[in-house]
């Protein structure tokens, strides 16, 4: 059971009851080639028939989406960075980081763990999907996700997030975002292959002198047992709005139950004690 809640887990789909599942599917988002076009956002919305998410300028560079949510399953972050410089010096110090964020499809997915209805479930591809015919909108998953991904949609009442296009990949197709991505910043495939590719790309970038390049969510020893959707970043995760070291809350669940058991016993004991004595 501890394996099922925390730590490296190799047979994720098997652990969820699938005999002989297909290879674990994943996204590798290489932000070093992202051009911030947002094709992923639109392709996702078209395929999944997601409603628009409001029409407001945020003032956050070219990001008017803001964050992932019930009606945004791909979100492109724009981060402007520059070193101080003199007028006329050009903008050699300017960096404009772009990154398409998505549900991480964690090995240990808190949203799925805490879902009381079984609406959130693990697919045979080891992805995590909400069943809209089941979800009753309890919103537990919203508080549980360490990445702030899943949310309940106002007016609809159910929780929504990226499905990694479960319907498409089940039919041997690529998820809509990965298919549309003009520069292959979003790559879809068997997770093992993607991890290998990502490590090679990282080595390449390091060799080019891009020392700040790093993988995020690729390590199966991290707090969520590694992500099904992982990233190559060019700065600290929190710069992109990602938690630096997320841990699935369920890791501590056994301990929590112990403390709760103790508290329950204490409560019962206190009641009992209160009835001791005469009157």
């Amino acid at each position: 059971m501890s394996d099922s809640l925390y730590g490296p887990l190799h047979d994720v789909a098997e652990d969820a009851g699938y005999a002989d599942p297909p290879a674990r599917a994943g996204f590798f988002t290489d932000t070093s080639v992202c051009i911030g076009c947002k094709a992923c956002e639109v392709a996702c919305k078209e395929w999944n028939a997601i409603p628009d998410d409001g029409f407001a300028l945020t003032g956050m560079s070219y990001d008017n989406t803001g964050q992932l949510g019930a009606s945004t399953w791909r979100h492109v972050a724009f981060i402007e960075q520059s070193r101080p410089r003199e007028v006329g010096d050009g903008d050699g110090g300017t960096r404009w980081l772009m990154a398409s964020d998505v549900c991480k499809h964690c090995t240990h997915a808190a949203c799925l763990d805490v879902c009381p209805t079984g609406a959130l479930f693990r697919t045979e591809f080891a992805t995590v999907v909400v069943q809209q015919d089941v979800c009753n909108g309890c919103a537990y998953c919203v508080s549980a996700c360490p990445y702030g991904v899943i949310d309940r949609r106002e007016g609809d009442g159910r929780a929504w997030k990226c499905t990694m296009c479960y319907d498409r990949i089940g039919d041997g197709m690529e998820p809509a975002c990965a298919k549309a991505c003009p520069t292959d910043s979003i790559q879809y495939g068997p997770l093992d292959e993607l991890r290998e590719r990502a490590r090679a790309r990282l080595d390449e970038l390091h060799a080019e002198g891009v020392a700040e390049a790093r993988l995020y969510g690729e390590d199966e020893n991290d707090g969520v047992g590694g992500d099904g959707a992982f990233f190559l970043l060019l700065d600290e995760p929190e710069t992109y709005g990602l938690p630096p070291d997320p841990v699935v809350t369920t890791r501590d669940l056994p301990a929590m139950w112990k403390w709760a058991g103790g508290a329950a016993a204490a409560l019962a004991g206190c009641v009992a004690v209160s009835f001791l004595g005469r009157r």
Binding site: G17, E46, L112, F121, A180
Partner: protein
């Protein structure tokens, strides 16, 4: 609680107890809809090869039609130009052609009018044809500064860069035959 269309055997708790997914986080929790899920592209009546209507890169598109409705437009992986990829605009093509905001009725605004009125397409075409004939005549020039020009300055047209070659061809052909010369498109802009 459990799907009413199916029996109690679809109650996940039972499947948790009897199957391999004891924690109820995977196989046991699947709903009937989930089991029936397929990509809608697979149900298309036909798939039509097309080209993105936005910029001039010319990305290949596949248009999926079911029940005479476009149900999906996505990149054509066979295209050596785009390799199946689309930008945000190309990816929004389905909304472009199916958006409820799209105008599908002829509208008419009479001179000094304050609102649109509806108009029959056939009638509109007749009215436009009448006006073309009239404007052509009234703007007609046989000569200009003594030189033969045989043209009309009464009609002008702008547009073409978003149209098909065949359409541009007929536009240029008809306007030229009518003697109209102020025929322009976005390429000038």
């Amino acid at each position: 609680m459990f799907n009413k269309r199916v029996g109690i055997e679809y109650w996940p708790v039972l499947r948790q107890l009897t199957g391999s997914d004891r924690l109820g986080r995977g196989k046991a929790a699947r709903s009937k809809d989930t089991d029936a899920l397929r990509a809608r592209t697979g149900q298309a009546d036909r798939v039509v090869e097309s080209v993105c209507p936005y910029c001039a890169v010319g990305c290949g598109q596949k248009v999926y039609v079911k029940d005479e409705k476009v149900i999906q437009i996505e990149g054509d992986p066979n295209s050596p130009i785009s390799r199946g990829r689309l930008c945000p605009k190309g990816s929004a093509s389905k909304q472009l052609v199916t958006s409820p905001g799209r105008q599908t009725k002829v509208l008419y605004r009479r001179p000094h009018g304050t609102d649109w009125e509806s108009l029959d397409l056939d009638e509109a075409m007749d009215m436009i044809a009448d006006r073309v004939v009239d404007a052509r005549r009234s703007g007609w020039e046989d000569t200009y500064e003594g030189k033969p020009v045989r043209r009309t300055m009464g009609i002008a047209s702008l547009g073409g860069a978003t149209l098909d070659n065949e359409e541009n061809y007929l536009i240029k052909k008809l306007w030229s035959a009518l003697g109209a010369i102020q025929i322009e498109n976005q390429a000038r802009i």
